[in-house]
């Protein structure tokens, strides 16, 4: 479990603190918390709550990226599972709804894993196929409309609270712990890192690299399916057109902000989730700031670049900038 609390991550924590401070500056009541209907209420809770889908996605995505892959289909998988959950919610119990939605995620993951590990397709195109077709499947299920439901169980998943903590946040935390336990509690983490670091060498060392790759795509899709259910529960409806749209990019961004290389190898679950929180803290800050929405993307671009520069291997701290400048002058 040591890798759950990595030594690295200073840059990320620093970035989070800075962005939180900026948020506080644009919105004085940013840190206010109160209890509302047995549920904590405040901007910080919004950050956690809204960050949940991307955090869940990044939990799966970080494993895929660790094997040197990428999964563009997570947004579409969210839409599919949300659509399934919403269509079943009012006629079936929660266990069946969840089983069906997560089962769909499992199938999606098997499909992606099959294309990448068995057919040997490049991950980005292999998952592009499901990214395109998957949203179509989701729309097929809902026939393009927003399917609403009122099943209190499912709604609870989106809006309920345990001990004041919103259920989605609790689920994300649970998934983080579960994933961490599975990955670091078994040899999976090491074998995934080896596969991503050098698949050929790992194969020769007896690692079942195909199975590893299959496993991470499956897990990634299951995480995405869960995120899809939560997103649907949140708005009490499945919006197949928009659920998870472009979230794959946010998830990848979160993973990279969390310091995992897109070239595979070393990964950190906690930092990936922290990356998701950094993104959401920024988004919430933008919403609170009251700037016109035309500025949203510019702010996002600048913050992303700043956060990345903070972690750049070539730029650890101000001192090295000075050193660089001096060297280039010389």
């Amino acid at each position: 479990m040591t890798a759950l609390l990595p030594r690295r991550g200073l840059a990320q924590i620093l970035a989070l603190i800075v962005i939180l401070a900026v948020d506080r500056a644009v919105s004085p009541q940013f840190f206010d918390l109160r209890l509302q209907d047995g549920r904590l209420f405040g901007s910080l809770i919004d950050v956690l709550n809204r960050g949940t889908p991307v955090a869940l996605l990044s939990l799966g995505m970080v494993l895929v990226i660790a094997t040197r892959g990428i999964d563009l289909s997570v947004g579409a998988v969210m839409a599919i599972s949300g659509a399934i959950a919403a269509s079943l919610a009012d006629s079936h119990g929660l266990p069946i709804v969840l089983a069906a939605a997560l089962g769909a995620g499992l199938l999606c993951g098997l499909w992606n894993g099959f294309l990448v590990s068995v057919l040997g397709m490049q991950p980005i195109v292999a998952t592009l196929i499901l990214m395109v077709a998957g949203r179509g499947i989701a729309q097929l299920i809902t026939e393009g409309r927003i399917v609403t439901f009122s099943s209190p169980d499912l709604v609870w998943l989106g809006n309920g609270a345990v001990l004041g903590v919103p259920v989605p946040v609790a689920i994300a935390l649970g998934m983080l712990i579960l994933t961490g336990a599975v990955v670091r509690g078994s040899a999976l983490g090491l074998l995934i890192e080896a596969t991503g670091g050098n698949a050929r060498a790992s194969e020769l060392a007896g690692v079942g690299t195909r199975a590893m790759i299959m496993a991470v795509y499956v897990w990634c899709s299951i995480c995405a399916a869960l995120a899809g259910v939560i997103a649907a529960a949140d708005i009490m409806g499945a919006d197949a057109n928009n659920a998870g749209l472009w979230l794959e990019l946010d998830a990848i961004l979160a993973v990279v902000i969390g310091g995992t290389s897109l070239f595979g190898g070393r990964f950190s679950l906690v930092l990936a989730v922290l990356g998701a929180l950094i993104i959401q803290t920024m988004n919430t800050g933008i919403l609170l700031s009251g700037y016109p929405p035309e500025f949203n993307l510019l702010v996002k671009a600048v913050v992303v670049l700043a956060v990345l520069l903070l972690q750049s291997p070539k730029l650890s701290g101000f001192g090295s900038i000075v050193a660089r400048l001096r060297r280039t002058k010389a």
């Binding site: 563009l72 294309l115 057919l119 040997g120 397709m121 490049q122 980005i124 195109v125 592009l128 196929i129 499901l130 990214m131 395109v132 077709a133 998957g134 949203r135 179509g136 499947i137 989701a138 729309q139 097929l140 026939e143 393009g144 990019l249 990848i252 961004l253 990279v256 290389s261 897109l262 035309e294 500025f295 949203n296 993307l297 510019l298 702010v299 996002k300 671009a301 600048v302 992303v304 670049l305 990345l308 520069l309 750049s312 291997p313 070539k314 730029l315």
Partner: protein
Amino acid sequence: MRGLPPVLITAIVLVAGFALCAVQFPNIASTRVVGNLLTDNAFLGIVAIGMTFVIISGGIDLSVGSVIGFTTVFVALAIERWGVPPLVAFVAVLALSAAFGAAMGAVIHVFDLPPFIVTLAGMFLARGASFLLSTESVPITAPIYSTVSDFALRLPGGGRLTAIAIIMLVIVLGGALLLHLTRFGANVYALGGSRSTASLMGVAVGKMTVKIYMLSSLLAGIAGIVFSFYTSAGYSLSAVGVELDTIAAVVIGGTLLTGGQGSVIGTFLGVLIQGLIQTYINFDGTLSSWWTKIATGVLLFAFIALQQGLVALARRPVARSAGAAS
């Protein structure tokens, strides 16, 4: 010739696909449809050439769609609102986009950051900048626009080879020349093989990186101008998501995302394959929004699987003869 067999296979896939489509919809086999295919995909073809350089060098450029959007808005505003002569506006916007690409390349190299993320930030930046310029779509009425969009070489059978299609074909040829026959092109492959090794072999990796992203953004700028010809307007939301179409076209064209392998002609074929899928779906015309997406996915899968199958088939005899030869 390195890279020829995959290209040949892609070409076979394209021709076979075209024949199959034509069997179902005989109208497809007309110069009109072929002309449309070239015109409609002109801007995609142009960005895809730039993307080919980037991907072969081992990078990726997610900003191209936004750069196209920015270019159309900038050009439209420059011509219609600021009263700049069109040609001056083109030069200015190309200079801007090239500088933008160079800046991304420089950040990637100097700070050793992953291109995926740097260009993602670039994507936000360019799109955000076009929102700032104008959120409304701006029609362009300059005479050059109607002249260019009216110009077309008539093909036998009613098809039209439009100006923008010709621009695309010229850029494809130029790109092929640059990639396959020049020192710059060889260095692009070298970077894709291994940056560190290329550097040890004396390739100026930093300069190359800057130039490659500059080229990609420059071509995205040209694609933006072509797009503005195509639509006679500038609009901040144009070409959203085009980066993924572009990457798909490049990869279908046989370029490896890991870098070091690929070809310009392959990319061109990849663009045509994507265009063919779209044309087929349009001809069918019975598909709902969702079946359109599903069919696109299925066809994408079919093309790639077919291609991979053929590549695997093509490789097998080679392995055998390699053994026999030694």
